[in-house]
């Protein structure tokens, strides 16, 4: 198949970017979206042009490194699919595809389609520690975790940290990501102990990174490759209110 591509090219964080047109012939429909970009890059390198930079790692939908906005949707047209798991059969021969980086105040553009998502790392590390004994592996049944709690924690833990929620949110809010991390740790008995300070610190860090407010539009859940539930955000609000109340009571 033949494709017309409009790709965002930007030299570095400071410079102005623009959309550049490329035409790609002989695209195999079984290629993944990233393989299609690889093919383009090979052509560009042979022509002595700068290849298009984009993030990726596992290419099997589990690491959360990949992610671009394709025709106006984060990770492209398919629901619950990362960019690397999107295949060219989803597009039509002769179609024009517009490819842009994730955009939000919290995600400055590094180059081309690459954005700086280290704000997520700082949110995670601001959460601090979990009190567990080091040394020998503990006996498996010392801390019972009910099936429901384990499943709920797994559901939240499924977040890849890809940032599609932020890119999709009109407010550039990182609520879904932060909420998934807070919820996962707040409900497991091993990490319940620090739930108050963890919630408060992660929320403060989330704000410092310049993300917006959550308007509960729920677009993030729809576009999230893992379908992380927006009820995680309600849970984060609960954790925040609970922690603020208990802190207030202590004083």
């Amino acid at each position: 198949m033949k494709l017309h591509l409009k790709i965002w090219r930007q030299k570095d964080r400071k410079s102005e970017g623009k959309l550049v047109d490329y035409t790609l012939e002989n695209v195999n429909t079984h290629m993944s979206f990233l393989e299609m970009l690889d093919t383009l890059n090979e052509e560009l390198i042979l022509k002595d042009e700068q290849p298009v930079e984009f993030d990726h790692d596992c290419r099997e939908g589990i690491c959360g490194q990949c992610g671009v906005v394709i025709n106006g949707n984060a990770h492209g047209p398919l629901k619950n699919t990362t960019t690397c798991q999107l295949h060219m059969r989803e597009f039509k021969d002769g179609e024009t595809i517009l490819i842009e980086p994730f955009r939000a105040a919290g995600f400055p553009i590094k180059k081309d389609l690459k954005v700086d998502r280290s704000a997520f790392d700082r949110i995670i590390s601001s959460g601090g520690y979990v009190s567990v004994n080091t040394g020998q592996a503990p006996e498996a049944n010392t801390i019972p975790v009910s099936h429901e709690v384990a499943e709920a924690a797994f559901d939240s833990a499924a977040c890849l940290g890809c940032g599609a929620c932020v890119a999709t949110c009109k407010n550039g809010s990182a609520a879904l990501f932060t909420a998934a991390k807070i919820t996962q740790l707040a409900i497991l008995p091993q990490s319940k102990e620090e739930r108050k300070q963890r919630a408060l610190r992660m929320i403060v860090q989330m704000d410092e990174e310049g993300f917006g407010h959550c308007s509960n539009t729920e677009a993030c859940e729809v576009e999230c490759p893992q379908g992380i539930s927006v009820l995680n955000i309600a849970r984060m609000n609960y954790e925040y209110n609970r922690a603020s109340f208990l802190k207030f009571k202590k004083k």
Binding site: N71, C169, N171, N216, A219, N237
Partner: protein, 218 residues
């Protein structure tokens, strides 16, 4: 103040306004009575509201809520505009409802309406020249009927109620979750109750000017 605490203020003031709106609505259903009966009972009700110290206190909370809600709406919307990205091609709208993305616009329509509404009735009742009914109460009913002889005003009220309806359909589910309700079962119930509340209240309020316009015009 952080993003969560600002939203809590939005939710608390917004949900208080919803509570007020229910009381306001129930009181105003008297407008649907037989004209002469409606006049006496509506005027007596209005008189009771102005005399009561408890109602006076609630009314101050009401004014504060409207102002606070509007100020925080401005702060939140400005920050969100700055934090969100804009795309050359934007298809993100497929994933959410239009009214959930335009709460600021819907709210602004409601705010303009509130100013107009205060001027129409609240100001006239407090400071205007106003006749008395046979019980000696200020005849607010006559003011209401006279106001709704103007077709344009009726149309403005109906449009404002449509905007309010969408604002509340999203506002109630959003606000309750901002306050931290996360259990799927209760969230579903709140969604249903929120939609029913919003539609009943807004259709009911919109029916009042329409009813008066059509029953009184010759």
């Amino acid at each position: 103040m952080n993003t969560l605490s600002r939203k809590i203020i939005m939710a608390a003031t917004g949900l208080f306004l919803c509570f007020f709106l229910l009381i306001h609505f129930l009181g105003n259903t008297q407008l649907f009575l037989e004209p002469e009966h409606a006049r006496l009972s509506f005027n007596a009700y209005s008189h009771f509201l102005t005399g009561n110290p408890l109602v006076k206190m609630v009314s101050y909370v009401l004014y504060a809520s409207i102002i606070g809600h509007a100020i925080y709406a401005l702060l939140i919307t400005a920050k969100n505009k700055a934090a969100g990205g804009s795309y050359k091609k934007d298809n993100r709208g497929r994933a959410s409802k239009w009214y959930s993305r335009n709460m600021g616009v819907l709210g602004t329509i409601v705010l303009i309406f509130i100013v107009l509404h205060f001027q129409n009735f609240w100001y006239v009742y407090k400071f205007g020249e106003i006749g008395l009914d046979t019980n000696g109460n200020k005849d607010l009913y006559a003011v209401v009927v006279a106001a709704f002889q103007e077709l344009w005003l009726v149309v403005v009220y109906v449009i404002a109620m449509i905007a309010l309806c969408y604002h509340l359909i999203h506002g109630i589910t959003s606000g309750v979750r901002t306050l931290g309700l996360f259990h799927p079962k209760y969230v579903r119930w709140v969604n249903i109750v929120g939609v029913v509340y919003s539609v009943v209240i807004c259709v009911g309020f919109a029916a009042m000017p329409l009813f008066i316009y059509f029953t009184n015009s010759k």
